[in-house]
């Protein structure tokens, strides 16, 4: 179970302020999500990754990157090809 104290802590780490109403709301939402995982944990015969599987590699070969305009499409604000973000220091 996630408590309101946990949510406050996580909000602080993420540097976001939340209201008391949101605190209650997020706490119940977090717990609802964790309950789904509890259900998944109880499912019989579900596939789990092969435990012995290791060393999954790709070769060191260059693949095309995205064009700059696509990269910047999701950014709220840009400047000269950079993504603009609030100053964090």
């Amino acid at each position: 179970m996630v408590s309101e104290t946990d949510i406050e802590h996580i909000a602080r780490l993420a540097d976001i302020g939340i209201t008391p109403e949101e605190l209650a709301e997020f706490t119940s939402q977090f717990n609802a999500i964790l309950e789904y995982f509890d259900i998944l944990d109880r499912v019989q015969g579900a596939e789990t990754p092969t435990p012995e599987l290791s060393n999954v590699f790709r070769e060191d070969e260059v693949r095309p990157s995205l064009p700059q305009e696509s990269v910047l499409k999701n950014a709220g604000s840009t400047e000269d090809g950079y993504i603009k973000a609030p100053r964090v220091m």
Binding site: V62, L66, V71, I83, K84
Partner: protein
């Protein structure tokens, strides 16, 4: 008061592609955000895939430092929020790193060999790069370039075995040398090395200094810290355990208190990547000749001094260069590369890779055959280097010598110059005659100036003495 220093060194491995995606690592001259894809941008649903070469490079380092490679190592998520981290976490290695327990040998401040213990090496992805326009602290927002995001980093962590800022610098120089010999790192690339240093004075709390990005910076930052901490202790102020930032331009460290959030990275194993089981690769890795072995071979094979051998083998490019020109005359080549060429390159912040070895060998031949004086040879070298630095077509040393008339002149050519100099400086001549032998050096210097260094100073001394003693001026 004993100084205790431990380092965390981050070096960019010079693979062709990033650690978890196929984006090219060759981004330095390119526009921001042009070497990124869904993986290194952390877009939802994108899956990382491990670059085999990055793992091989990490193992090469582990083997060279005589480390134990873990039977099974794994990647982990380090969670924190910062604009340079698009996913909100960095993929790194936490409690099961690639390798542990190694050593690097350096010289201590008394010149004795000492071992620095390496705690661990692990692989991780580089974050993006933040740019602050309008001057550092005053900028109100950060500009983010994710081209660097996902570049493979090897983090090398030492035990607190270093005892002075100078030792720390020597350690880094040695580490760089080994990494370059191994072909996994290029120290000339901007930002390829970053260091965090833990420093304390024995019996007091330790301070972490972040944001050091050069070899000289490490020595500067630590020297500043030693002085700062000693002053506090002298005044009876306790050292606060804290993180400080190195301000490279000002050569000082400043407290990051207040800026620093509580460290709660909530590490957990990276669910998108399978573990590494690569310990058995180590036996198959062939290591090249490393700096210490090459230094010993140079002394044996070329008969050069320990000091020259050490200087020439510190940088793999310098060592390769030396071996290309040593055929002219190993001792002469050692002197001219170690004592002259490196200084001239350093002065120009120029890489030895830009110097054509065949031209340098030709210059050595001119010196060896006594066609030019040492002084003229330096002048020819400077012209050669300036041309290379300017990106002009290289010109052979013979051509430069002839173009600038720097060939060694025969004695007779100087008679007129000697006469003119002596006539112009009667006082010096008189001083010499009255027993002030130092006046001779002055006169020879004047003639040297007139001949632009083409004459052999010893021969010139003889000519000038002879002239004064046989003439009536």
């Amino acid at each position: 008061m004993t100084v205790i220093v431990g380092l965390e060194v981050h070096v960019q491995l010079n693979t062709r592609t990033k650690l978890f995606c196929g984006c090219s690592t060759d981004y330095r001259d390119d526009e921001p955000n042009t070497h990124v894809c869904p993986v290194c941008l952390g877009l939802p649903g994108a899956l990382p895939r491990i670059n085999r070469t990055a793992v091989e490079y990490g193992l090469r380092v582990a083997k060279a430092l005589d480390m134990d490679v873990l039977e099974e190592s794994e990647f982990a998520r380090k969670n924190y929020f910062y604009p340079d981290l698009p996913k909100g976490f960095q993929i790194t290695q936490y409690d099961r790193p690639l390798a542990i327990n190694g050593t690097i040998e350096i010289e201590d401040d008394a010149g004795r060999e000492k071992e620095v213990r390496i705690t661990r090496v692990h692989l991780e992805e580089d974050p993006g790069r933040l740019v602050h326009r309008g001057g550092g602290d005053r900028a109100r927002y950060s500009l983010v370039d994710y081209n660097r995001s996902g570049i493979p980093l090897l983090e090398i962590v030492t035990e607190p075995d270093l005892r002075s800022p100078q030792e720390a610098r020597r350690f880094l120089v040695k580490l760089r040398s080994i990494l370059e010999y191994l072909g996994v790192f290029d120290g000339e690339r901007e930002g390829a090395l970053r260091v965090d240093a833990n420093i304390s004075l024995e019996g007091h709390d330790r301070v972490e200094v972040k944001n050091i990005s050069s070899y000289r910076g490490v020595e500067k930052a630590l020297t500043f810290e030693v002085t700062r901490q000693k002053n506090l202790i002298r005044r009876g102020v306790p050292i606060v355990r804290e993180t400080r930032h190195f301000q490279e331009a000002r050569g000082i460290t400043t407290s990051s208190r207040g800026k620093e959030e509580e460290h709660d990275y909530r590490y957990f194993p990276e669910p998108d990547l399978r573990p590494l089981r690569v310990a058995d690769w180590v036996a198959g890795i062939e290591l090249p000749e490393l700096p210490a072995a090459r230094k010993n071979r140079f002394m044996e094979q070329y008969g050069i001094s320990l000091i020259h051998a050490r200087t020439l083998t510190g940088d793999v490019k310098v060592a390769d260069f030396y071996e290309k020109v040593a055929h002219v005359d190993p001792l002469l080549a050692a002197t001219w590369v170690a004592d002259t060429l490196l200084g001239e390159l350093n002065y120009r912040s120029m890489s030895i890779a830009k110097v054509p070895p065949d031209h340098f060998a030709d210059l050595l031949s001119l010196i060896k055959q006594d066609v030019v004086t040492d002084r003229a040879a330096v002048q020819i070298l400077r012209v050669m280097l300036d041309r290379c630095a300017a990106g002009e077509a290289p010109e052979s040393p013979e051509a430069i010598m002839e173009r600038l008339n720097l060939g060694k002149a025969a004695g007779g050519e100087f008679t007129a110059i000697v006469r003119a100099v002596i006539e112009a400086h009667p006082q010096a001549v008189e001083d010499y005659r009255s027993g002030k032998k130092g006046a001779l050096n002055y006169l020879v210097g004047q003639v040297m100036k007139e001949t632009r260094g083409r004459a052999d100073p010893r021969e010139l001394g003889r000519i000038v003495t002879e002239y004064i003693e046989t003439s009536e001026v």
